[in-house]
Point group: C2
Chain length 220, copies 2
Amino acid sequence: MRLSIASYGLLLICVCLLIHLELAWISGHSAGESAELPAAEQAREYYELYENVWKDLVYFPIPESSEDEKAEVSFENSWMFERTYGGSYGHEGTDLMPSVDRSGYYPVLSMTDGVVENIGWLEKGGWRIGIRSVHDVYFYYAHLSSYAEDFQKGDVISAGQLLGYMGDTGYGKEEGTSGQFPVHLHVGIYVRTEEIPELAVNPYWFLRYLEQHKLKYSFS
Amino acid sequence: MRLSIASYGLLLICVCLLIHLELAWISGHSAGESAELPAAEQAREYYELYENVWKDLVYFPIPESSEDEKAEVSFENSWMFERTYGGSYGHEGTDLMPSVDRSGYYPVLSMTDGVVENIGWLEKGGWRIGIRSVHDVYFYYAHLSSYAEDFQKGDVISAGQLLGYMGDTGYGKEEGTSGQFPVHLHVGIYVRTEEIPELAVNPYWFLRYLEQHKLKYSFS
């Protein structure tokens, strides 16, 4: 018996329908597999990482001076303000601006317990130090005039420990480049997610909180 | 009847066309499904929503008493601690526990400007009020003994405004059920994402921050 064209057509339609159903099933199936986390769980995971910052914060990074009442710092919410050194990008941090514009004057303290993860020169950050805190948050202090000690990667740091002094280093490939901008401390805070090794969060609010937790140092 | 070569050719073209359409369908379909945001953007969106809470916070919800020094509240981080009324679930809030265990004693103030979104009895929350703040965050105050005014949905609220009094209402279908647990204020904070209308965030850290921003009320 021979098949008519109509039969061929019918067969073709059946085959296509089966292929379609099969592929739909696969696609649905793989959607299930890649069904990553539902949105709420995903959000909650991110929020837990974010809240880890809280858990580690102890002190405001600039102490009050017990001798010089005018030695204050101010800061605003400059999150994602445009920065243009070496290309245009958003400001991933908060700048603490001193009332006394003198490099090497203000002590810079660690906000947290932690371990030195990075130390030394960065073209943008100048003399910087990066501390990994107990809950896996990265605290980045940039533009220092100098370090308080000969820190090495892996050194254990205590909250409130003197890291170095506020300066104006950076914005240059050559180590020690300074004076390219006003003296200030750039504070960056980064959490680590499964997909993103360095996810910047806005330090502004944390610093607002820490304003109530200032140490007093003797400097003038 | 036999199929001519031309008919076979036509059939082949049809099959190819169908496969092509099918693949286009799949690719469009799955691309659409997985077309979510890259992880970093997604995280940043969630963090922006979270940081909106900061932007609206003004006052701690329980004022200090100018007359009774002992009228304090304490609180711990009880986020997701098990609660069992009407089934087992995580605690989506922070409980402010009074030093004076008296219903109707402590004023409860709005932490933010906003608008009354919910008011009245809830089986779990008792007499509760929910305020939607300027940056679209929902602040939930539960177990009140009474309201300060005959609030209506849509009423505009100012930060620091008296909402009612701390009590022990709730855990009952019947309006006014009280005394099922110690007097306290349950504070809940919810952000709204595109997918999740009520995503709870942990109020503990925000309350820690607000501790530095207490109003003084005359009550004893």
